[in-house]
């Protein structure tokens, strides 16, 4: 657990952080968000003493950070910044090995640990001998995360780590970051200026403005009961839509209302099956249940007859995608039903536009009811 007690930081005459009190639970992701200059990064850096507070105290597991030697403290806390934080003259291997070597680990143990970490951040072991300049932005960010996790710290501080990554890769990184956190369960403090990122990744969000804590709560609590106008503006007008980011597709998977077929299913039988059903298509699965394509019954312009059209690479939703991502995939592909797969490509069911719509309507009603009570 991390406790910030009456933390104040002044730079000359300006107060960057004013009397901040915050308790961060073990094993959770807490997002610090606010406009630039609100004090979020300053607060983060006070935890590993890159910046010393003017007054107040910070406790990690009831021990004051001021009592610890700064260098030792930092080696016990993971620190991730934008991809630029990798040392360009070190290989991926040497970058990850920095902290274990500072801690004088045995080289064999370091080697094992690095293989384990590369696997965790889904990078092939062949990446170990590459240099940062040879990697893409997303790959660098994975290495940065691996480096921060190298000595297995309990606490991880992340300062806008995905800020320089393009939107598409950022979404991918978000998904794998959440998957990694499911495995490692670290206490993570994550600074961002992107509200969507905060909603997607955070369990709790601390909203700051002008060096003060405006609201600190669980994500859906903030979405449903914003403290004041500032928070409302930060969340934007589409709060009910944003709330969809909290819902995972896996909770909305439906097991009926669709057809499946094996790879070797007879075309004629399949056509009849589709004609006699409510749907226009069937999902093709291999013997291990992995989605291999989709066959749709379409009227051929040439012959005027109904024919099966095979799509070997249909749009799919990952079961860990949130509803916003599922919805945008539906809108982009023009489908009202999409197949859902797990991380190994196995078909687990479908998600329907109508269920997402129902979720939004429900959230709206909840908000109105709460509003009426006030």
């Amino acid at each position: 657990m991390i406790e910030l007690k009456n933390i104040t930081k002044k730079f000359g005459k300006t107060t960057a952080v004013h009397n901040l009190n915050l308790e961060i639970e073990k094993g959770t992701i807490t997002m610090f968000i606010g406009p630039s200059g609100c004090g979020k990064t300053t607060t983060l850096k006070m935890i590993n003493r890159l910046i010393e507070p003017t007054s107040g105290d910070i406790l990690i597991n009831n021990q004051s950070v001021v009592d610890m030697e700064a260098v030792k403290l930092r080696r016990s806390i993971g620190y991730v910044i934008q991809e630029t934080g990798l040392f360009p003259h070190f290989t991926v291997y040497d970058n990850i090995a920095v902290v274990p070597r500072l801690l004088k680990w045995d080289e064999n143990k370091i080697k094992e640990r690095i293989e384990e970490l590369l696997d965790l951040v889904t990078l092939d072991t062949s990446y170990a001998q590459k240099y940062p300049l040879q990697l893409s932005g997303g790959e660098r960010q994975r290495v940065g995360l691996a480096r921060a996790l190298a000595a297995n710290p309990e606490v991880l501080l992340m300062d806008e780590p995905f800020g320089a990554i393009d939107p598409i890769n950022r979404l991918k990184l978000h998904d794998s970051f959440l998957e990694i956190q499911e495995e490692i369960k670290k206490t993570i403090i994550f600074v961002t200026h992107d509200i969507n990122e905060a909603i997607k990744l955070g369990e709790k969000i601390a909203i700051m403005d002008n060096g003060e804590l405006v609201q600190y709560d669980e994500v859906n609590e903030i979405l449903q009961n914003p403290e004041n106008e500032f928070v409302e503006n930060l969340l934007g007008r589409d709060r009910s839509l944003k709330a969809l980011a909290l819902e995972k597709t896996k909770n909305f998977v439906i097991q009926d209302g669709f057809l499946t077929a094996g790879l070797n299913e007879d075309q004629e039988t399949l056509r009849e099956k589709i004609r006699n059903s409510q749907s226009e298509h069937a999902f093709i699965l291999d013997e291990r249940g992995r989605l291999k394509g989709r066959k749709t019954l379409q009227m051929s312009k040439r012959t005027g007859k109904f024919e099966l059209v095979h799509d070997s690479d249909p749009v799919v939703v990952d079961r860990n995608n949130n509803l916003i991502e599922a919805l945008s995939k539906m809108l982009e592909s023009g489908e009202h039903q999409l197949p859902v797969v797990n991380s190994k490509g196995k078909f687990v069911g479908v998600v329907n536009l109508s269920s997402i719509f129902a979720e939004v309507t429900e959230a709206e009603t909840k908000k109105e009811v709460k509003g009426a009570q006030v």
């Binding site: 910044i81 003259h89 500072l102 040879q134």
Partner: protein, 216 residues
């Protein structure tokens, strides 16, 4: 050509001594310039001294425009003539590019990178030796290289204040109006310059970390 060979044959000892002296002037002054220059460059870019670093950059940037003969003349005024003043003049003159490049190389490393290093628990000296110097080494080496080659040229001018070396030959040739002596001096200085430049270029390649000049 014949005249040149004849002169060398007759004055073997003189030519050899001048070349050796020249080499000695160059080597000693460059070595000191590197040591002092690195020290100054590292010092003025230390933690919290970035402002001094930028000031030094401005000063050394401008100082590169000062002609070598002016430095030699100034040293003559304050220190006098002889071998030591010549060495001093050479050190001062070749310090400039080394300090300039070391400072600019170290200052150009992104503050984010240094913060990352500090944030994961490197001490100040570890940051200097493991991060800053290896990354700045190509720029520092370029400074040393240009200082060294310029230094060989400047060493000929140092003959004016009694430094000896190939400058002695050149000035003798000028005084006696004997082209072959001038040519011998110039030619030998040029050979040393090319040799030194090639050597340092090789060294530059060896010491530059692989990750810095690699591409995707």
């Amino acid at each position: 050509m014949e005249k040149i060979l004849a002169y060398i044959a007759k004055n073997q000892y003189l030519v050899f001594t001048a070349t050796w002296q020249h080499w000695y002037l160059f080597a000693v002054s460059t070595l000191f310039a590197i040591l002092i220059g690195l020290f100054i460059g590292i010092f003025v870019t230390g933690e919290g001294r970035e402002k001094i670093g930028r000031l030094v950059l401005t000063i050394t940037g401008a100082a590169q425009a000062v002609p070598s003969i002016a430095v030699v003349a100034l040293v003559f005024i304050f220190v006098g003539i002889g071998f030591t003043p010549a060495i001093i003049a050479l050190i001062i003159y070749s310090l400039v590019p080394i300090v300039f490049n070391t400072t600019s190389g170290l200052l150009s490393i992104s503050a984010k990178l240094i913060e990352a290093a500090r944030g994961i628990g490197l001490t100040n000296s570890q940051i200097l030796w493991k991060i800053k110097l290896p990354i700045a080494i190509p720029v520092i080496m370029a400074g040393i290289r240009s200082a060294a080659t310029i230094n060989i040229g400047t060493a000929t001018v140092a003959a004016v204040i009694g430094g000896g070396g190939l400058g002695d030959l050149i000035f003798t040739g000028l005084r006696l109006q004997r082209t072959e002596i001038i040519l011998i001096g110039t030619f030998l200085a040029a050979i040393i310059a090319i040799l030194v430049d090639t050597l340092i270029a090789l060294l530059e390649k060896v010491v530059t970390p692989k990750g810095l000049h690699i591409s995707r």
